[in-house]
């Protein structure tokens, strides 16, 4: 696609992919358990969340928490501690399930019955770029009306399709959209 950066950061520009910033913001909006999974309080809370009902447990199993009921029971009763790899799996399953459940509500709030949400795009950081190579990249805002693809691919954890969806969105910025492929921050509220 024309306008895409080929070798980003070659001259010292700093920033992250716009889609990563969006995913980060969505994660922030989704919230969740703040205690790290390594603490007992943290993994216990996650396990309670994942075993709250049969559908969530099914979703957790689909997301990679493939342990027997016996093990789960032992963990929940505090007789055993999950191993390091199990903790990672718990965290992974928790994030996936949480995203899937929150996505519905988040999507409704972001679409706002078709009125959409105002998104702020903060341009990349050029402070380390030599003076003669710096370009004027302005702060931009846009209204995004359709969030279905963005939130859908975020909930599914599919980085590639999230990136594609975000790129299709920022094309609306006009011919300069390529300058906003990498950003310092993407801000919006839900």
């Amino acid at each position: 696609m024309p306008g895409k950066n080929i070798d980003f950061g070659r001259f010292g520009a700093r920033g992250i992919k716009g889609s990563d910033a969006v995913a980060r913001k969505l994660d922030e909006l989704a919230g969740g358990i703040a205690t790290p999974v390594t603490a007992k309080r943290g993994w216990m809370a996650r396990l309670h969340y994942l075993t709250k009902s049969t559908p969530t447990l099914k979703a957790a199993q689909d997301a990679g928490l493939t342990v027997t009921h016996r093990t789960l029971k032992a963990w929940l009763e505090g007789k055993r501690r999950p191993s390091k790899t199990s903790l990672e799996r718990i965290e992974q399953a928790y994030r996936t399930v949480r995203r899937r459940y929150v996505a519905r509500h988040l999507l409704r709030r972001l679409n706002r019955d078709g009125r959409g949400t105002r998104v702020e795009i903060h341009p990349l950081n050029q402070s380390q770029v030599p003076q003669q190579l710096q370009r004027v990249v302005e702060y931009r805002t846009m209204n995004v009306r359709r969030w279905d693809r963005i939130v859908g691919s975020w909930a599914a954890g599919d980085h590639q399709s999230l990136d594609a969806a975000w790129q299709d969105t920022i094309v609306d910025l006009g011919s300069q959209w390529g300058q906003y492929e990498y950003v310092t921050n993407v801000g919006f509220a839900a």
Binding site: A34, T184, A189
Partner: protein, 527 residues
């Protein structure tokens, strides 16, 4: 000969000075006409602070005095006519229709001059000469084009019987507009002529936009609840946050800077835990004088009106905060700073400007606190050493970002107080206080994530209170206590220092009590 001309004109200029009303009358006239200081100051070609001076005791001189007298005269006449006789709406269409014909007939000879363009107005505006609705605007002033339409009103009937051709009389011509067929006023300076054109300089326009928004919301709520004041107030307070955001949007229409709502925020501005606070010290004053002067005293607890509303005027950083170390303070930037505060040696009579800090060592303070410290360490006050700045997160700043927003709320508040309208008063109060308290990381207002602004505005309120304490101290009052955002306890005749009232520049009495050396703990009574 030209020397003598110059002398003649000088001699002409020396004459009796124009009469001006008393200071509070000047301000009242301006406020009743819903004109801001900035508007009037621009029209007079002076700075708003000069105008403040004129409204609080100083007297203008020379040409500025003549202009100001003319303005006050006009306001006086206009407000008097407004209250006495309102124009009947029935004659408006006729008047504007006739006026439209006048334009077609008069504009062709007038266009040769190219000096003044006649605009047709869709909605008739009050004529600047007679105050009745006029269908045209010339040089930015709505007015009638023919003397026949421009009928004098009841109050100025004896003075101006045939106003239009002679209306721009010599001393008044600096301000008065002129109809195209009238000879160009020679006394009018060229600069004023050039500046007075264009839509920005329309005098006596109805205020539109922000204040209307507030009024409509209140009327809507009252209508919805069939005039039930309590229910309407509750409903309005409930929607205060989204309404404040909408008001902010409206006031930023056509503005130079964007309100950036979701910038990157440094870690020091993020809450450490869900219930915890971030690392910024807001310098909230919480000070009670250790020892009262000997004897028994009457202590007055004063309350500063609308402290947070006034504090909306502060230097707010616009964009993303950028880190810097070891740089001197830059007046054009604003943000948060890691400083080592100076020693404070006046604890016995004045609160510490950084508040009641228990821990020693460097701390993160905001721009208003730093500016206060720098000001106090300056040559004028010399109350402490300058603070040491170690690190800063700053961005380019402006004081005017929320200015229109603040003025809209202040105007609505003033009108509500004047009319005894408790619904609007509560609504306005909820809007500004909730706007400030939820503009940070609050879930009640997700449209604005600016914890830096929240801290800055709060600190500004505290700094304002501190400066009031200093003013009281300098004027010879004994400051007994400075608490929170708006509480100041003083001993002495405070009425000669502060004006009493309900406007934001005035103070009101919360409580009076006696305290003295024999009753040491008595100062706690004024809660």
């Amino acid at each position: 000969m030209s020397d003598f001309d110059a002398i003649d004109s000088l001699l002409d200029a020396v004459g009796p000075q124009a009469e001006l009303p008393a200071c509070d009358v000047r301000r009242e006239l301006r406020e009743r006409a819903r004109l801001s200081k900035a508007q009037v100051a621009r029209a007079l070609g002076v700075s708003p602070s000069t105008l403040s001076g004129w409204e609080s005791g100083r007297d203008p001189a020379g040409e500025a005095r003549a202009k100001y007298a003319y303005l006050l005269d006009g306001l006086n006449a206009k407000l008097a006519t407004d209250t006495e006789n309102r124009p009947e709406p029935a004659e408006q269409p006729m008047a504007s229709g006739a006026a439209a014909e006048d334009v077609t007939s008069t504009s062709s000879p007038g266009s040769g001059r190219g000096e003044d363009e006649v605009e047709l107005l869709a909605v008739p505006e009050p004529c600047v000469l007679c105050g009745r609705p006029a269908g045209q605007r010339v040089a930015g002033f709505a007015q009638h084009l023919t003397p026949a339409d421009c009928r004098p009103t009841a109050t100025e009937a004896p003075a101006a019987e045939q106003p239009a051709p002679q209306a721009p009389q010599a001393p008044h011509a600096v301000q008065a507009p002129h109809a195209p067929q009238a000879p160009l006023g020679t006394a009018r300076p060229a600069g004023a002529a050039a500046r007075s054109r264009g839509p920005a300089r329309r005098a006596f326009q109805e205020p539109s936009g922000p204040v209307d928004l507030i009024r409509e919301a209140v009327q809507g709520a009252l209508g919805e609840h069939q005039g039930d004041v309590d229910a309407a107030t509750a409903a309005l307070v409930k929607r205060a946050i989204p309404d404040a955001m909408r008001l902010l949007d409206v006031t930023r229409k056509g503005a130079r800077y964007d309100v950036i709502a979701h910038p990157w925020i440094p870690d020091i501005l993020k809450k450490q835990t869900a219930r915890g606070a971030d690392q910024i010290w807001e310098a909230r004053p919480k000070w009670t004088r250790h020892e009262l002067p000997p004897g028994r005293h009457q202590v007055t607890a004063l309350d500063i009106n609308g402290a947070y509303l006034s504090a909306l005027k502060t230097h707010l950083p616009l964009g993303r905060l950028e880190h810097s170390t070891g740089l001197a303070h830059d007046r054009r930037r604003s943000g948060v700073h890691l400083i080592t505060p100076p020693e404070w040696e006046h604890e016995a009579v004045l609160p510490n400007p950084i508040g009641q800090r228990d821990e020693p060592g460097p701390l993160w303070v905001t721009e208003p606190t730093l500016r206060l410290l720098l000001r106090l360490s300056g040559p004028k006050h010399q109350l402490c050493d300058p603070p040491q700045i170690h690190e800063s997160y700053t961005s380019g700043a402006t004081e005017n970002l929320l200015e229109k927003f603040r003025i809209a709320l202040k105007d609505a508040r003033d009108t509500a107080i004047e009319q005894g309208d408790t619904v609007t008063l509560e609504y306005v109060k909820a809007m500004y206080s909730k706007f400030v308290s939820t503009m940070g990381e609050s879930n009640y207002n997700r449209e604005l994530y600016r914890p830096d602004w929240m801290h800055l505005i709060r600190s500004q309120a505290f700094a304002n209170l501190w400066l009031k304490a200093l003013k009281a101290h300098d004027e010879g009052l004994a400051v007994v206590r400075a608490m929170g955002t708006d509480e100041l306890h003083v001993i002495g005749d405070w009425r000669r220092v502060f004006a009493e009232g309900r406007a934001v520049t005035e103070v009101k009495v919360k409580d009076t009590y006696t305290a003295g050396s024999d009753v040491a703990e008595h100062a706690d009574e004024g809660e």
